[in-house]
Symmetry: C2
């Protein structure tokens, strides 16, 4: 038997996703739960990055992970092996999560003793960017093999995120990816975005991201 439950999340019947997202954020604030929404293309390394993040922070914080997938549960199995709380959300073909679906996931997972809740969104650079999930911070991953022109091609995604992780820097020598050109392209879309180059596979650069995350969680809980 798997160590996690799977639930089918249903799209909101209400039309006001932004209001629902605001209400969810207020509830999270009251409950001292920091919700991070992690977005990227398929295969950018969301799950590997999460594994490293959990490893770095699980002794300090209670962690719960919601794995959103169209209908598989391979990632939930991987994350479940770390011992943190995991729930699989099936979107029934939907290409994103909205605030209502996220609320359903949090409720099913349970947030008692959870300081850091992570939503691994559906792998997609288009639709997830259009829906505020109620997260405190949006983090996206762009991996080196995808190319440094992606901020030009998926502008909304790069505008809505607080942090861009540039993953797979260990393979930089084998790809025509210019870190500076990418940084400029992101900044053009989103001057406030933080950009952390790293390799989730080797662990290089992970600390800069987990240090940022630690500070954000603490300030969310204390303020």
């Amino acid at each position: 038997m798997d160590a996690f439950r799977t639930i089918e999340v249903k799209r909101s019947i209400f039309d006001n996703n932004d209001r629902q997202a605001e209400e969810l954020r207020k509830k999270l604030k009251k409950d001292k739960v920091f919700l991070m929404n992690l977005m990227s293309s398929p295969g950018s390394g969301k799950t590997t990055t999460l594994m490293r993040t959990i490893e770095a922070l699980k002794d300090e914080f209670g962690i719960g992970v919601m794995e959103a997938d169209i209908d598989s549960d391979v990632d939930a199995k991987t994350i479940g092996s770390t011992g943190v709380k995991v729930i699989q959300l099936h979107t029934g073909g939907m290409c994103h999560l909205d605030a209502e679906m996220t609320s359903q996931g949090l409720e099913a997972m349970g947030t008692e003793n959870v300081d850091l809740a992570i939503l691994e969104n559906v792998g997609n650079l288009v639709c997830p960017a259009e829906f505020d999930t109620g997260a405190v911070k949006n983090v996206m991953i762009l991996s080196v093999p995808e190319g440094d022109d992606k901020p030009l091609k998926y502008p909304l995604m790069f505008s809505v995120c607080d942090v861009v992780l540039i993953n797979k820097i260990d393979v930089l020598p084998y790809f025509d990816f210019n870190l500076e050109r990418c940084r400029e392209a992101v900044k053009k879309r989103n001057p406030a975005a933080k950009i952390f180059p790293l390799s989730a596979r080797t662990g290089e650069g992970m600390e800069v991201f987990t240090d940022w995350l630690r500070t954000e969680i603490r300030s969310w809980q204390e303020e």
Copy 2:
């Protein structure tokens, strides 16, 4: 001035996309135009693969390319440099093309003297799979850095495509990607799918794909 026009394509006001797609295919058959719909994640190498394909076939066939993007036109510029007919389709935020949008694109591009029309769909493994564009064949690209588990996670995309190109095989040594495991996962979803491993960057394996495409175009025009 750029060598291509840009049009904003509008979603169909009709609800029956499947019927519209069938009608478009009938028209294409009559006009002897072979429409290939090319889908993949962002950064899998659609444009580089197209460049190689055009190079291999442009002396034999009239080629026209529709570049669908949310709102940029970087790819149309690249493709335009080959001298083939190119049109940029802006989807206005939409994450996919339907048959109506594709028809609008073909009409704006013009199909006189076009044997092979190519639709470069929006980079996304979810939504484009849900809409029949009216194409004669669906081709998708999965690139090595994305991982061999993608057929498990995006089952619909792998079910609707006639061909899966496994791109970036030149970087296989640097990634944990098992070609056989991937092949099995694709076949499980779609036993009829053709699978061609290649590297659009180096050109390795491209011929197997362009040979297949040549045969398909000829048979579509002759039957």
